[in-house]
């Protein structure tokens, strides 16, 4: 009889202490770092040395730290942008496209209007235009989702490629600088975001956004609507919420912030526009968003962590000639481990021997 009892059974777990939850998450993170070590070993590098190089090249010197912050700003910004969408269970993976369109709109003013107005006004108009275009790019799939339930995951994704195609065309055509160069000219100094403490002032902007998003999601009517809709569309309707409106509005807010990030990257970092302006941020930010469980403050930490990883990886490429894409692998592994560990928070396993003991007692 006993050997026919199932070996392991599952049961939902009632509640777990906060400390225990964080311990499990920490363990998952440690496991991910360990797996990373194995990958280094397979790639033929000394794992300790590899991690050491990564940390040294990212946090070891001032320029490295600046680069880390520069990398973290867009990750954090887009992570924040995605948070309300994910809370609503709306899978906006169109961050790339929304960033790109935002950057494009900002670039238009930077390239063609810089001599017609003062710098402050120009930067403001660029920001507004970027947000408008980012929002527009998010608006299109959202409307179809809200009206007909069109799959937003794939639609937002297709919008990425379309946005990138448009900028590629501008780059090689109408906005091209030197004919044949396939490059858009650099912005005028008036159209470049000023630096504060060595990094473009976008970092202040995203920190403000952290506060904004925290308040927006937790204390406003909009935030409440989003949370209810994410749990149950029926309940949202029952409570008298306009489901379509909330869906579209939230997606547009998300797109607007992505657009703003595109503006920061184009104006603050690249000082020009090219098709790859988003550079995968829209995808990596999904990780930021999910790992921080949609908590804006946690996103600061996670985006810095991932920025260290990516800066460290480019350091690795120079120092140990290991391809920088290792950072994507490790990012992926961390995310996969964190996803897996939630299971141990929500479920418990019941092993067979307990059962046998119970039977004897009975």
């Amino acid at each position: 009889m006993n050997e026919k009892t199932p070996l392991i059974r599952l049961a939902k777990r009632e509640d777990m202490k906060k400390s225990r939850i964080w311990l499990i998450r920490l363990a998952a993170f440690a496991a991910a770092i360990l797996i990373g070590m194995i990958i280094f070993a397979i790639a033929g590098a000394n794992p300790i040395k590899a991690y050491g190089t990564m940390i040294a090249s990212s946090l070891g010197k001032k320029s490295g730290v600046r680069q880390v912050i520069k990398n973290a700003v867009p990750l954090l910004g887009v992570g924040l942008a995605l948070a309300p969408c994910f809370r609503m269970r709306y899978w906006n993976i169109g961050g790339e496209g929304q960033i790109t369109m935002g950057a494009m709109a900002a670039s238009y003013f930077a390239l063609f209007w810089y001599d017609k107005m003062p710098s402050a006004l120009l930067l403001l108009i660029m920001a507004v235009a970027a947000m408008a275009f980012g929002a527009l790019w998010a608006f299109i799939p959202a409307v179809f989702k809200a009206r007909w339930g069109t799959n937003e995951t794939l639609f937002t994704l297709m919008m990425n490629y379309i946005a990138i195609g448009i900028v590629a065309w501008l780059q090689g055509g109408p906005w091209e600088g030197k004919p044949g160069s396939q490059i858009i000219p650099m912005f005028d100094a008036k159209a470049v975001l000023p630096k504060v403490m060595g990094v473009h002032c976008g970092w202040i902007l995203v920190l403000l956004l952290v506060g904004f998003m925290f308040v927006y999601m937790n204390y406003t009517k909009h935030g409440y609507e989003i949370a209810v809709l994410g749990e149950s569309e029926n309940t949202a309707r029952y409570a008298g919420m306009n489901v379509r409106k909330v869906t579209v509005r939230t997606a547009m807010l998300s797109g607007a912030i992505c657009g703003l990030v595109g503006y920061m990257v184009a104006s603050g970092v690249n000082q020009t526009l090219y098709a790859d302006v988003a550079g995968g941020v829209g995808f990596t930010a999904i990780t930021v968003c999910w790992l921080s469980q949609l908590n804006p403050f946690a996103m600061i930490v996670i985006s810095l962590l991932l920025a260290v990883l990516s800066k460290g990886a480019s350091g690795l490429q120079t120092a140990l000639s290991i391809p920088a894409s290792i950072s994507d692998i490790i990012t992926g592994v961390i995310l996969l481990c964190m996803l897996g560990c939630e299971f141990f928070i929500n479920y418990k396993l019941i092993f067979r021997h307990k059962e046998a003991a119970g039977k004897e007692a009975a």
């Binding site: 599952l10 794939l154 994704l157 297709m158 379309i162 065309w169 992926g332 996803l339």
Partner: protein
Amino acid sequence: MNFNLAGLIKAAVLNGTPLLFGTSGEILTQKSGNMNLGVEGLMFMGGAFGLAGAFWYDQMAGASASGFLAVVIALLCSFLAGVFGALIFSFLTISLRANQNVTGLALTIFGTGLGQFVGEQLRLKVGGNISISNALKGSFANPILPQSLQDIPFLGQVLFSYNGFVYLGILMAIVMSLFLNRTRKGLYLKAVGESPSTADAAGINVTKYKYIATCLGGGISAIGGMVYTMTIAGTVWNHTALSGEGWVAVALVIFCLWKPLNAIWGSILFGGLMIMYLRVPVSFIPSQIYKVLPYIVTAIVLIIVSLRQKREDQPPASLGLPYFREER
């Protein structure tokens, strides 16, 4: 109209074949109720590992390398890479009940990273773009049917002038269709995707079916990445060219209404859209805009599919949902 229709069709078929593998694999996966958004990652892994396998064999065997063996090794490497990726996905979503959307995206990040890493590593090793010997290249890309068949005017080019992967892909789609519609296991698999609790109540091992379908599906999708790298990309690692294939493949699953036979013509259609800008240039449309045509069409297809609500054309009813028997 004075353009080469046969040439266009041929190019469409060749460019559609990676999609055919990618889409068919994902159809199998989705039939089990698993929505694996990691196809992009799987195809990257398949492409890189397939190339690495062929490259490694080329290096080992040198001049005596057999073309057939190289193809088999590439197939196997890419397939196994895909199975590995899909196994991660399966473990997380089936056993650990993680969110399928996020897990799929994580797999994409991981897979594209890993594929890119392997591709780059190979490049660094050789010190330049890696490539395999011309003789082996041919065994991947050259037509496999007798010249006499290919010489038939028009039809020869349209039907008989392809490399082995094209026929393999079509055969695979047909077999998959037969499997789904004519076999007991196929019926069970569909039941699992429609309603796991019903399948479970009927004594079908839901977990087993989900695992096997998802892993096999992942392997098949990954072969698509290899086919792209070894035929269209000319055995050179080119991640920018490969990027996007996996996502179009996922969208095609919806377009094909979860039917492998539809995937055959669907992939050819999209293969055609992808190379239209080269084959049928339109003077007033810039090529960069023309290139995004498949994505625009995909978006339109998504809209049309969502507008049409026929009962038989719906996705598997439990697609994307985890299953836990003792849920209360």
